[in-house]
């Protein structure tokens, strides 16, 4: 029983990590109709930025904040200089963001090298919790807590604030938002920066969990795209449920069917797409 519980908590921790990155991806997709294939590299960058500042004797929490801010600033720069020119052009978006992912990944290799790095768990959370005869790292529970906190924050922003109403309106009808006196360009920049910041946050928190290595960006991007597709394009609530689903299934899959764990996740995605092409929480498109 305790093994089952430990696996479940591990699955939840990974699920929350997937949710944090997928939330940014799905919000950008929902509001801006942009599939950001460079999202995984922003995740990787988030981890490496924390690694750099911790190496410079900075506290993990300050490094985390710097990482989130820097990825947000990078998001603003990318949107203003590049992304804004490819709105409504799907193929160009894919090529641009895919190209950006290669460039950022190569910059990461150039600055930090290609060896696998480990990001230390912050001292405050470097402890374990006993569950029966199992020992469970406290840091993983912290990741679950942050994921739930983010979900609460997104719910509050979406349903209780004007910016949330604007974002929901943008998902509904982008053109009309501008016709109401709302600066759509500014909204898009803000949304992209927020999405990038979430990628940076998830990278910073994911570093101690999954390690840091070149290629982690592609792996996390594929997983987060699966999460977004299962949850429904543009729905962060859908991403929350599907991220937990993917995290738990993947974790149990690695224990029970080590060679098939990812295949099971893909099969679930295929089943969801056959039954509900718009995803679990996506809205039907006429």
């Amino acid at each position: 029983m305790s093994i089952f519980l430990a696996q479940l908590l591990t699955g939840l921790a990974y699920g929350m990590l997937y949710f944090m990155i997928a939330a940014g991806l799905t919000i950008i997709l929902g509001v801006m109709n942009v599939v950001n294939l460079a999202h995984g590299t922003l995740f990787m960058l988030g981890a490496y930025i924390v690694f750099t500042f911790i190496s410079d004797e900075l506290n993990f929490w300050i490094a985390l904040l710097i990482s989130v801010l820097l990825t947000a600033v990078l998001g603003i720069i990318l949107e203003k200089l590049l992304i804004k020119h490819v709105y409504g052009k799907e193929l160009e978006q894919v090529l641009l963001t895919f190209g950006l992912s290669f460039i950022i990944a190569d910059v990461v290799k150039w600055i930090w090298g290609t060896e696998m790095q480990t990001l230390p768990v912050p001292a405050l959370l470097d402890a374990s919790l006993s569950i029966g005869e199992m020992v469970f790292p406290l840091y993983r529970l912290f990741v679950v807590f942050i994921g739930c906190l983010l979900a609460l924050l997104l719910w509050y922003l979406e349903s209780k604030t004007r910016i949330g109403a604007i974002i929901r309106a943008g998902v509904d009808d982008r053109a009309m938002v501008g016709a109401l006196g709302i600066n759509v360009g500014l909204v898009f920049t803000g949304v992209f920066a927020f999405g990038a910041a979430l990628a940076g946050l998830s990278g910073a928190l994911g570093g101690p969990l999954i390690g840091m290595y070149t290629g982690m960006d592609n792996e996390i991007l594929v997983t987060s795209l699966i999460v977004v597709v299962i949850g429904g394009l543009g729905s962060w609530k859908g991403s929350f449920i599907s991220a937990i689903l993917v995290g738990v299934i993947e974790t149990f899959g690695k224990v029970w069917f080590p060679s098939l764990s990812m295949l099971i996740v893909f099969l679930i995605m295929m089943v969801v797409l056959i039954i509900r092409p718009q995803g679990l929480f996506g809205r039907e498109v006429a």
């Binding site: 004007r162 109403a165 604007i166 929901r168 309106a169 998902v171 509904d172 009808d173 053109a175 009309m176 938002v177 501008g178 016709a179 109401l180 006196g181 709302i182 600066n183 759509v184 809205r283």
Partner: protein, 241 residues
């Protein structure tokens, strides 16, 4: 007063509007009629800043608004109620209305409630749906919400694109009466684009007839309705020689 002088608009390489001249006086309803593809919606979208004009000038109360992006045009006092209503279906009626006053929100945050009350007085059928999603309203209620949302920014001029489209005659009459009330009580200038020519003539002070991106005719509803071309093309009255 709204002045439009020599307004031309291209969409891509195709010229849609050809040197349009029109004006709207304070507290006046101006109807624009014309066949499908005459450029009526393009004209409204250009005035609203959704398309940029290639030539010409638009002034509202002496201020040049042509060439400004849509969000700045709204702040200058022009509001668009687009074709097909385009209300936000996953927002409540109240949220839709509040987004309508976005351009004035920070100045008049405390009056938001009063603004909404004023709109609900004008559209009583929206009152009972205030917390319902916009997508759950009937076509007529959605049109009323779209007009109400357009009025939330307290515009100097409101542009309505085909408000009668797809609505029952009874609802169309209700909407026309509301437009008369808006003109009378708020003094708002109104440009009404309609394919329902009888409805357009019924409420208008002046009428412009558009054909292939040009203003073909201009006059009072009486003058326009007596015009032989209008009679045969739009009012279905066959002319006998």
């Amino acid at each position: 007063m709204l002045y439009v002088q020599g307004l031309s608009t291209h969409i891509g390489k195709i010229q849609i509007l050809h040197s349009i001249d029109l004006h709207v006086h304070q507290g006046e309803i101006v109807s624009i009629i014309g066949a499908n593809g005459a450029g009526k919606s393009t004209l409204l979208n250009t005035l609203a800043g959704l398309y940029f004009p290639s030539t010409g000038k638009v002034t509202l109360e002496g201020e040049v608004i042509s060439g400004l992006p849509a969000h700045k045009v709204v702040r200058k006092g022009l509001s668009l109620v687009p074709e097909g209503r385009q209300i936000f279906s996953n927002l409540t009626v109240k949220e839709n209305l509040l987004l309508g006053m976005y351009s004035r929100y920070y100045k008049e945050k405390n009056q938001a409630k009063d603004h909404i009350e004023m709109i609900l007085d004008m559209f009583p059928s929206l009152k009972k749906h205030i917390d319902n999603l916009g997508g759950n309203l009937s076509g007529g209620e959605q049109q009323m919400l779209a007009i109400g949302r357009g009025l939330m920014s307290k515009p100097k001029i409101i542009l309505l694109d085909e408000p009668s489209m797809g609505l029952a005659p009874k609802i169309v009459n209700e909407i026309l009466e509301i437009l008369m009330r808006i003109k009378k009580e708020m003094g708002t200038m109104i440009i009404l684009v309609e394919q329902n020519v009888k409805a357009a003539l019924k409420v208008a002070d002046r009428v412009y007839v558009m054909e292939q991106g040009n203003i073909a005719l201009h006059g009072t509803p009486e003058e326009i309705s007596m015009n032989p071309q209008v009679k045969s093309a739009y009012l279905g009255i066959k002319m006998t020689s």
